[in-house]
Symmetry: C2
Subunit: 165 residues, 2 copies
DNA sequence: TTGATTATGTTATACTATAACAAACATTTT
DNA sequence: AAAATGTTTGTTATAGTATAACATAATCAA
């Protein structure tokens, strides 16, 4: 049984997150007969370094350190591949990318983003989807892709702010 | 009684949309003792030319035509002002701006965006907000701002695609 | 191996947005 | 009305994000 989504729990074993993300990616690419090349794997690993979404240009120095070419297309191509396979999501309001904890089945992206610590955790709520589906159906709109980006304060940072106040 | 949101109805009187948006903006700025300067008013009017979100750089030529300076800061400043007053929304996934049909009371932005005709209509669904609020409460997250951008096919374009198929 | 396909390297450039400071204009106070 | 203050606009430069286009290299299939 794999571990649960850590959500905003600060004390989880993050090495575990990274390891599982890489394992899942490898098996998923094998199943789909796709190549998880060294560059793609490295970019995935870098994105998973934390639960804070990372900008494409933040990833470039690490690619250079690893001896790869590090012009923008390199990282954008890797990110494009990873997005297509559901392994990372792009957060439009931040121009940043974050690892997906359950890429096996495609799903649309929804995030709770803390404006204080910048962590973003995926939100996959049946009631939210249902409410959106109902609203769209009312006006005859056919949903293809949902982007939900909710900004606010995570539990930790909320406590911190109330202490400071 | 003002008119209703046109939604995806193609045949509405769009001059009416524009006129109402300008009237509302003027009275709202008067109430708030803010200056709806010629540039700001023009930018608002341009954004309202259609229900398709417009990029900032698309607006610049029209500013030049009207005899104003048309360097990027000009339009970004106007857009910033209009956003602060709730008169326009930014759509992050498109890097584009669209007029808000009911700027009187602040609200978070939600859109149904047609990938075929590019029209975007505001979505303000109590069930969606409620579902999001519940989900956030479950994990102790305090919502400050919601961004919902749903891409798909509007009724018109859906019909058209099914005819072509 | 040959040929086709996919991935990467490389250079250049497009697109989106803001910083910083000067000039013009409006508003309030004297 | 003049001076002082605050706000808006003009202007130049630059930061930040992303892709086009074409060459080379690696992989895969026949």
């Amino acid at each position: 049984m794999p571990h649960q989504d850590p959500g905003f729990e600060t004390d989880h074993n993050h090495q575990h997150c990274i390891q599982q993300a890489l394992d899942t990616a490898r098996s998923l690419c094998r199943e789909r007969s796709l190549r998880l090349t060294p560059i793609r794997e490295l970019v995935l690993k870098l994105v998973w370094q934390s639960h804070q979404p990372m900008g494409a240009y933040e990833l470039l120095p690490a690619l250079a350190d690893a001896g790869f070419n590090s012009a923008p297309p390199t990282v954008y191509r890797a990110l494009e591949f990873l997005q297509e396979q559901g392994l990372v999501h792009r957060i439009a309001s931040l121009n940043a990318y974050v690892g997906c904890p359950h890429p096996e089945h495609p799903h649309t992206s929804g995030f709770l983003i803390c404006r204080h610590c910048q962590r973003a955790v995926e939100l996959d709520s049946a009631p939210v989807h249902q409410a959106l589906a109902d609203t769209a159906a009312d006006v005859g709109f056919e949903i293809e892709q949902e982007m939900i980006e909710v900004v606010g304060l995570c539990p930790d940072c909320r406590d911190e702010e109330s202490r400071d106040a």
